[in-house]
């Protein structure tokens, strides 16, 4: 841990700018040589159905707490500088950004691994739920066993 390191979590309805987020991770940060970012977006199809929109619900309070715990675990396992997690809620449309995870570290291995770890755990531990709107109607998405398996491999 150095003064340079921090972590930040934002749950928001507004969109975010990947360029702005990368600029913040890099600003006054000469000690980290690696910046790894992940952005998740709304796909046009899910299980063969045409998706028109997704509505994201979450559990305010628990969401921030669970993401904080995931980030802390990542910081214990890898040597990280800055961590930023953004997750949007509310109604989102095809191509919209849903989630952002940005991690910096001195060298790339730590940032790559920690970024994937944070996303894998966010998927199975953070209390968000997606409701999908399609031509056939609205339905809550089911959790995937494959996501549990991905998180368990860490």
């Amino acid at each position: 841990m150095t003064e340079n390191s921090y972590s930040e979590i934002s749950i928001q309805t507004d969109d975010f700018s990947l360029a702005d987020e990368v600029a913040l991770l890099e600003q006054d940060n000469a000690i980290d040589g690696a910046v790894v970012t992940f952005t998740g977006r709304v796909r046009n199809k899910n299980e063969g159905k045409d998706v028109t929109s997704l509505t994201l619900e979450h559990y305010p309070g628990m969401t921030e707490k669970s993401l904080g715990q995931i980030i802390n675990t990542a910081k214990e396992r890898w040597r990280l500088g800055r961590v930023k997690v953004i997750h949007r809620v509310g109604e989102l449309f095809i191509g919209d950004q849903i989630v952002f995870v940005g991690v910096t570290s001195k060298h790339r291995q730590d940032a790559f691994a920690a970024n994937e770890f944070i996303m894998d755990y966010l998927k199975v531990r953070a209390p968000f739920w997606k409701k999908e709107s399609t031509e056939q109607g609205n339905n809550w998405l089911d959790a995937k066993t494959s996501d549990e398996n991905k998180a368990a491999k860490w």
Binding site: Y59, S66, H87, L122, R125, F128, W129, W140, A143
Partner: protein, 82 residues
């Protein structure tokens, strides 16, 4: 009193986002589930789902978790964010 909150599909099935009930005779999350399931057939059916997740004061817990007056207990389906 114990505050109980419900989310996503569960909230819609029960048509209830939040309720409060006396903590008397409730020692664990399992006791609370049994109490809620006894409300009527619909609640019985919803709480029979073994995939249901529970949290106490914003931490994920299992059914053996102890609860006390002032706690916030949440029930919800497996999460699907990201």
């Amino acid at each position: 009193m114990i505050k109980v909150v419900f989310f996503a599909a569960l909230r819609e099935q029960l048509n209830c986002s939040e309720l409060s009930l006396s903590s008397e005779n409730l020692t664990t999350v399992a006791d609370l589930k049994a109490e809620l399931a006894s409300k009527d057939d619909k609640w019985q059916q919803v709480f029979a789902n073994s995939a249901l997740l529970s949290a106490v004061n914003h931490d994920m817990v299992n059914s053996e978790q102890l609860i006390k007056s002032g706690d916030e207990v949440a029930f919800f389906p497996p999460v699907t964010g990201g």
